[in-house]
C-alpha cells in the first residue's frame, strides 16, 4: 500500500499542449454542452439551438486548428502531446481539416428539414415500427435532436482516432466514434424496421470488430511490452521476441481496422447499414468514417509496422485485391442506389489500401488526397440520393431513377458528374486521386496490383454508367419519383461536395502540396 502511495505521488500529470488539442477539446466539449441542451431546452427550441451549436462548434474547431497550424511555435512537422499519446502532425492537420469540413457537410444534411418534412430522423425512436403510432410519427414534424450531440461525439472520436499514437487511445477513440454511429443508424423516420436492422447489424459486427482490435492490442502488448506505436516499431526491428504474438496481434488489430474502413472481405455490414440508415447518416459514415479509419490504418502501418512490412505485405495485397474485386463485381448486381454506392465504397477501400501499404511518402500523401476527394464526392452523392423521393420516402430502387434527367436536369447532371468522379474520369477529383495512389504504388513496385486496380475500375465504371444510362437514356416511369426541391442546407452540402470534386479535379496542386506537407511523427 505504501509503495502504491509513493508511486502515486511520483506520478506526474502529462504536459498538455492545449493549442494542439484544442480542436478535439472544442468538439467533445460542445458535444457535452449539446447533451445539456437536449436536457434543458424545451422540445420546440432544440432543433434550432442544436443546429447552431453544432455548426458553430465545427467552425470554431476549424479555426483553432488553423491557429495551431499557423502558430509560430508549432514546428513544421507538428507536435506530440499528452505524454506521447496524441500527435498533431501534418497528416493529422490534413485529416482533421478534412474531417471537419466533411462533418460540416454531413451536419447540414442531417439538419435539413425541408426535403423530408421534419427531417430524416424519427420523431420518437421508442415507438415500435409498423404500429399506428409509428405511422403517426412519420407525419409528425419533430425529430430526435439527440442526433446532433451523437454526431459531435462521433466526430470527436474520429479526430482522436487519426491522431492516436498508442493503441489504447486508439481503442477508446474507436469506441467513441462507433457507439454514436450504431445509434444514429437506427433513427430513420421511414422504414424503421430496416433502419433498426441496420443498427443491430452494425452494432453486433462492430462489437466483434472492436473485440478483435482489443485482442490484437493485448497480444501486441505481450509482444512489445507497450501499446505505444513507437515502442512496437522498435520491438519489431529485429529482436528475439515472439513472432507469434506479433503476427497474431497484428492480424487481429488490422481486422478491426479494416472492418471500420469497410475493406472487403470485412465489408459484409456495409451494404445493409448504408441502405438502412437515414441517408444523411450514411453520408456521414461513408465520408467521415472512411477518412478516420484509413487515417488510423495509415498511422498504424507507417509508424508501428513499417519495419515488419515484409511479413504482412502479401496478406494486405490479397486483402486489397479481394476488396477491389468484391466491390466492383458485387456492385454490378445491385438494384438499389445506396447499396450500389456501398459496394463502390468497398472497391474504393481497396484502392485506398493500395496507397496505404506502399509505406512511402508518396503513398501517404496520395492516400490522404484520395480520402479527401472520395469524402466530398460521397457526401454530395448521398445528398442527391436523399432528394429523389416518392410518397413512401426516398426512391432508392434503380428502376425508379429512369428518365430522371427529363424531370430534373440539374439533379441528374450533378449526380452524373459525381458518378463520373467515382468512376475516376479525368477533370474530376476521383481521377487525380486514383492517379496519385497508383503512381505511388507503381513507384513501390506494385505493378500487378495497379493493373488489377485499373481493371477493377473499369468493371466498376459499368455500374456507375448504368445509372447515367437510366437517368438520361431511358423514358421516365409514369408513377416515378419526384425530385424534391432541396432546402438551403442540403443545397449547400451538395454544392460544396460537387464544387470540391471539380476543383480537386481541375486544380489539385494546392491539396496535393498540402497532403504531401509532412509525415507522421511519434
Amino acid at each position: 500500500m505504501e509503495t502504491l502511495l509513493a508511486q502515486t505521488q511520483r506520478l506526474q500529470a502529462p504536459e498538455i499542449d492545449y493549442l494542439a488539442v484544442s480542436p478535439i477539446l472544442v468538439v467533445l466539449g460542445a458535444a457535452c454542452l449539446s447533451v445539456l441542451v437536449e436536457a434543458f431546452l424545451p422540445k420546440t427550441q432544440r432543433w434550432a439551438a442544436q443546429v447552431v451549436l453544432t455548426l458553430l462548434t465545427i467552425v470554431v474547431a476549424g479555426t483553432a486548428l488553423g491557429f495551431y497550424a499557423a502558430a509560430d511555435d508549432t514546428p513544421d512537422q507538428g507536435k506530440v502531446t499528452l505524454a506521447g499519446t496524441i500527435a498533431v502532425d501534418q497528416p493529422v492537420i490534413f485529416l482533421w481539416a478534412t474531417l471537419l469540413v466533411l462533418g460540416f457537410g454531413a451536419v447540414l444534411l442531417i439538419a435539413d428539414r425541408s426535403v423530408e418534412p421534419g427531417g430524416a430522423f424519427v420523431a420518437d425512436a421508442a415507438i415500435r415500427p409498423g404500429t399506428v403510432q409509428d405511422r403517426a410519427q412519420a407525419g409528425r414534424f419533430g425529430m430526435q435532436t439527440e442526433v446532433f450531440p451523437l454526431t459531435l461525439f462521433a466526430l470527436g472520436g474520429m479526430m482522436v482516432f487519426v491522431a492516436a499514437n498508442d493503441l489504447l487511445t486508439m481503442f477508446i477513440a474507436l469506441e467513441v466514434l462507433s457507439l454514436p454511429l450504431y445509434l444514429m443508424c437506427g433513427l430513420a423516420r421511414r422504414r424503421r424496421l430496416l433502419s433498426q436492422e441496420a443498427a443491430v447489424k452494425y452494432f453486433l459486427l462492430g462489437a466483434f470488430a472492436s473485440a478483435f482490435f482489443l485482442y490484437g492490442v493485448a497480444l501486441l502488448y505481450g509482444f512489445a511490452g507497450s501499446v505505444k506505436l513507437a515502442d512496437i516499431a522498435t520491438a519489431t526491428a529485429g529482436t528475439d521476441r515472439s513472432d507469434t504474438l506479433l503476427y497474431a496481434g497484428f492480424g487481429l488489430l488490422v481486422v478491426g481496422l479494416l472492418f471500420k474502413a469497410s475493406v472487403g472481405p470485412f465489408h459484409a455490414w456495409t451494404p445493409d447499414v448504408y441502405q438502412g440508415s437515414p441517408t444523411p447518416i450514411t453520408a456521414f459514415m461513408a465520408a467521415c468514417t472512411k477518412v478516420a479509419a484509413f487515417g488510423g490504418i495509415l498511422r498504424v502501418l507507417f509508424v508501428a509496422f513499417e519495419k515488419s512490412s515484409w511479413e504482412w505485405n502479401g496478406v494486405l495485397w490479397g486483402v486489397a485485391i479481394a476488396s477491389m474485386v468484391i466491390g466492383a463485381v458485387l456492385g454490378l448486381t445491385q438494384t438499389d442506389v445506396k447499396r450500389m454506392i456501398a459496394y463502390s465504397s468497398v472497391a474504393h477501400a481497396g484502392f485506398l489500401l493500395i496507397g496505404s501499404i506502399t509505406l512511402t511518402s508518396e503513398g501517404l500523401s496520395g492516400t490522404m488526397f484520395y480520402l479527401m476527394a472520395y469524402g466530398f464526392t460521397t457526401i454530395a452523392a448521398f445528398g442527391v440520393v436523399s432528394l429523389v423521393r416518392n410518397a413512401d420516402g426516398e426512391a432508392t430502387h434503380l428502376s425508379q431513377w429512369a428518365g430522371l434527367a427529363k424531370r430534373s436536369p440539374i439533379t441528374a447532371a450533378v449526380f452524373t458528374f459525381l458518378l463520373l468522379a467515382l468512376a475516376g474520369i479525368p477533370l474530376t477529383s476521383g481521377f487525380i486521386g486514383k492517379f496519385v495512389v497508383f503512381a505511388a504504388a507503381l513507384q513501390s513496385g506494385m505493378a500487378p496490383l495497379v493493373v488489377i486496380a485499373l481493371v477493377a475500375s473499369a468493371v466498376a465504371a459499368f455500374f456507375y454508367l448504368r445509372v447515367i444510362v437510366l437517368m438520361y437514356f431511358s423514358e421516365p416511369a409514369p408513377d416515378g419519383p419526384t425530385v424534391s426541391v432541396p432546402g438551403a442546407f442540403t443545397t449547400v452540402a451538395i454544392t460544396m461536395g460537387a464544387a470540391i470534386t471539380l476543383v480537386l479535379g481541375v486544380w489539385p496542386a494546392f491539396a496535393l502540396d498540402w497532403a504531401g506537407a509532412g509525415g507522421f511523427i511519434f
Binding site: 479525368p426 481521377f431 497508383f438 513507384q443 505493378a447 485499373l454 444510362v469 438520361y472 496542386a509 502540396d513
Partner: protein
C-alpha cells in the same frame, strides 16, 4: 507562346456552353453552333499557315503553363505536321457535320441545342487530344472526349443506343485505364532517371527509348491496348459497328472520321518514338492484326445488311491499311498512312453523311429495303457513287494517293503483308459497287421506297415517289467534301509537305533503316 491552339481549344468549348443555354431556341442554337465551327475553321487555317514544315522545330505553335507542379504536369500544347493535319480535318469536318445534322429528326424530347452543344464540346476534346504535348494532359483529353460522345450516342442515337453507348464507353475506358498504367509507368521511369517526374512528351521520349526491351514491351502494350481499341484493330473492333450504327449520323462521322484516328495517331506519337525497341519487336504482331483487319473488315462489309454497320466495317478495313503503313517503318508508307487518316475522314465521313441522307428519305437502315433509288434521287445517287469511289481508292480520288503510298512504301519491308493487304482493294471494289448496285441501280423496289406491298417492278407508292432529291443545304454540305476528294486526288502535295518531315522524324526515332530514299517526294 502561341495562342492559336489555345483559341482552337477554348472557342468550341465556350460555344458549346452558349449553345447549351439556347435549348429553347433551336434555330438560334444551330446558327450559333455553325458560326462557332466556321470561326474555328478560320483559326485552323491560320494555324496551318503559321506552321513551318521545313523548320527543325519538331513541335510548333507551342504554349505551356504549370498545372500540377507536384507531378510535373503542365498544360502544354503544340503540333507537329501529323497533329496539324488532324486538327485541320477536325475543323473542316465539324461545320460539315453541323450542316449535315441541321434537319435531323431527334428522338422525342431531345433538343437540337443539346446535340450541337455536345458536338462543340467534343470538338474541344478532339483538338486537345491532338494538340497536347504533355502525356498526362493527353490522357485527360483522351478520356474526356468519351463523355460527350457517350451522350451523343446514348441520347440521340438509334433504337439500340443504350447498349451501343455503354459498349463504346466501356471499351474505350478499359483501354484508357490500361494506358493509364503505362502513363504512370513512364512517369515513374522518368522520375527514376531524371530525379523529378515529368510528363513532357519530348523529355519522356529521351528517357523511355533507352529503357530495356522488356520494360518497353510492357509500357508499349499499355499504350497499344488503348490505341488498338480506339483505332479498332481486329479483334478489339466489335464496339465500332454497334456504336457507328446507333450513333446519329453527325456523331458517327466524327466517331469514325476523327475519334478513331486517335488510335493511329497514338501509334505514331507515343508508341513508336517512346518505345522504339518494343515497336520493332512487336511490329509483326501488329501487322498481322492490320492485315487481318483489312481482310476481315472487307469480308464483313460485303455481308452487311445494315447501311451504317456497312460503313463501320469498311472503316475497320481502312484502319488496317493505316496500321500497316505505320508499322511498315518506311517514310513513304508512314506519310501514306497519315494522309490516309485525313482521306479516310473525308471519304468515310462523306459516305456516312450520304448514307444518312438515304436513310432520312427511306426511313430504314436495311439495305434490302432499298433498290433503284437513283431513279428517284439521281443527285444523291451520284454523291453516293463519288463517296464510294473515294472509299475504294479509285485513281483520281484522294484515297488512291494514300493507299498507293502505303502499299508501295510497305512492300520493300513487308512484301507478304503488302500483297495480302492489296487483296483488300479488290474486296473494297466488291463491297462498294455491289452496295451501290443494290441500293441505287435497277428498277425501283424495296419496302422503304415502294411500301410494304411492293415487290420488284411494283407500282411506285405515290406518296413515296415524292422522295426529294438533295436540297440546297445537303448539296452545300457535300460540295466541299467532293471538292477535297478531287483536289487531294490530283494535288496532295500541300498536305504531304506538312506530313512528310514529321513522319520522317518519327521514323528516325524508331531507328529502322528506311528503304526509300528521301528524294522524289
Amino acid at each position: 507562346m502561341s495562342w492559336t491552339l489555345i483559341a482552337l481549344l477554348l472557342l468550341p468549348l465556350a460555344g458549346g456552353v452558349v449553345v447549351a443555354f439556347l435549348r429553347g431556341n433551336d434555330r438560334l442554337a444551330k446558327a450559333v453552333a455553325l458560326a462557332v465551327s466556321l470561326v474555328e475553321l478560320v483559326i485552323a487555317v491560320f494555324a496551318w499557315t503559321g506552321y513551318d514544315p521545313s523548320s527543325d522545330e519538331r513541335l510548333q505553335l507551342t504554349s505551356s503553363a504549370d498545372w500540377i507542379p507536384a507531378f510535373g504536369v503542365r498544360l502544354s500544347f503544340g503540333v507537329d505536321g501529323i497533329a496539324l493535319v488532324m486538327i485541320a480535318l477536325i475543323a473542316f469536318l465539324v461545320p460539315v457535320v453541323i450542316g449535315g445534322s441541321w434537319a435531323d429528326k431527334l428522338p422525342e424530347g431531345r433538343s437540337a441545342g443539346g446535340f450541337f452543344a455536345l458536338l462543340l464540346v467534343m470538338e474541344t476534346g478532339m483538338v486537345g487530344v491532338f494538340a497536347a504535348t504533355d502525356v498526362f494532359l493527353f490522357y485527360v483529353f483522351f478520356e474526356a472526349v468519351l463523355v460527350p460522345m457517350y451522350f451523343l450516342i446514348g441520347r440521340f442515337g438509334g433504337p439500340n443506343r443504350q447498349y451501343a453507348a455503354m459498349k463504346f464507353f466501356l471499351y474505350s475506358l478499359l483501354g484508357g485505364l490500361i494506358m493509364l498504367a503505362s502513363v504512370i509507368g513512364v512517369y515513374v521511369a522518368a522520375a527514376d532517371k531524371l530525379g523529378a517526374g515529368t510528363f513532357d512528351w519530348a523529355t519522356l521520349v529521351t528517357v523511355t527509348r533507352d529503357l530495356p526491351l522488356s520494360t518497353q514491351i510492357w509500357l508499349f502494350l499499355g499504350f497499344f491496348a488503348a490505341f488498338a481499341i480506339k483505332a479498332p484493330l481486329v479483334p478489339l473492333h466489335t464496339w465500332l459497328p454497334d456504336a457507328g450504327a446507333e450513333a446519329p449520323v453527325g456523331a458517327g462521322v466524327l466517331l469514325v472520321g476523327v475519334l478513331d484516328k486517335i488510335g493511329t495517331f497514338g501509334f505514331l506519337r507515343y508508341c513508336l518514338p517512346m518505345f522504339p525497341l518494343a515497336s520493332q519487336e512487336l511490329a509483326p504482331l501488329i501487322l498481322v492484326l492490320a492485315v487481318a483487319g483489312i481482310l476481315y473488315g472487307s469480308l464483313l462489309a460485303v455481308g452487311q445488311s445494315d447501311l451504317k454497320r456497312f460503313v463501320a466495317y469498311t472503316s475497320i478495313a481502312h484502319f488496317g491499311f493505316i496500321a500497316l503503313g505505320i508499322f511498315a517503318f518506311s517514310s513513304q508508307a508512314g506519310a501514306g498512312a497519315v494522309l490516309y487518316m485525313v482521306n479516310h475522314g473525308i471519304s468515310t465521313g462523306m459516305l456516312f453523311l450520304v448514307v444518312g441522307m438515304v436513310m432520312a428519305r427511306g426511313g430504314s437502315r436495311l439495305i434490302e429495303d432499298y433498290g433503284g433509288m437513283a431513279k428517284l434521287t439521281p443527285v444523291l445517287g451520284g454523291m453516293f457513287f463519288v463517296a464510294g469511289l473515294s472509299s475504294l481508292a479509285l485513281p483520281g480520288t484522294n484515297s488512291f494517293v494514300s493507299e498507293f503510298l502505303v502499299l508501295v512504301g510497305s512492300y520493300p519491308n513487308q512484301p507478304v503483308y503488302t500483297i495480302l493487304a492489296a487483296l483488300g482493294m479488290v474486296l473494297a471494289a466488291l463491297y462498294i459497287l455491289w452496295l451501290y448496285q443494290r441500293v441505287f441501280q435497277g428498277p425501283v423496289r424495296g419496302t422503304a421506297l415502294v411500301g410494304a406491298t411492293g415487290g420488284p417492278g411494283a407500282v411506285v407508292d405515290p406518296e413515296r415517289a415524292g422522295l426529294r432529291d438533295l436540297n440546297k443545304r445537303e448539296l452545300a454540305v457535300l460540295a466541299p467534301l467532293v471538292a477535297l476528294i478531287l483536289v487531294l486526288g490530283f494535288y496532295p502535295k500541300p498536305v504531304l509537305d506538312v506530313i512528310t518531315p514529321s513522319v520522317g522524324a518519327t521514323l528516325s526515332e524508331v531507328g529502322v533503316a528506311d528503304p526509300v530514299t528521301q528524294e522524289g517526294k
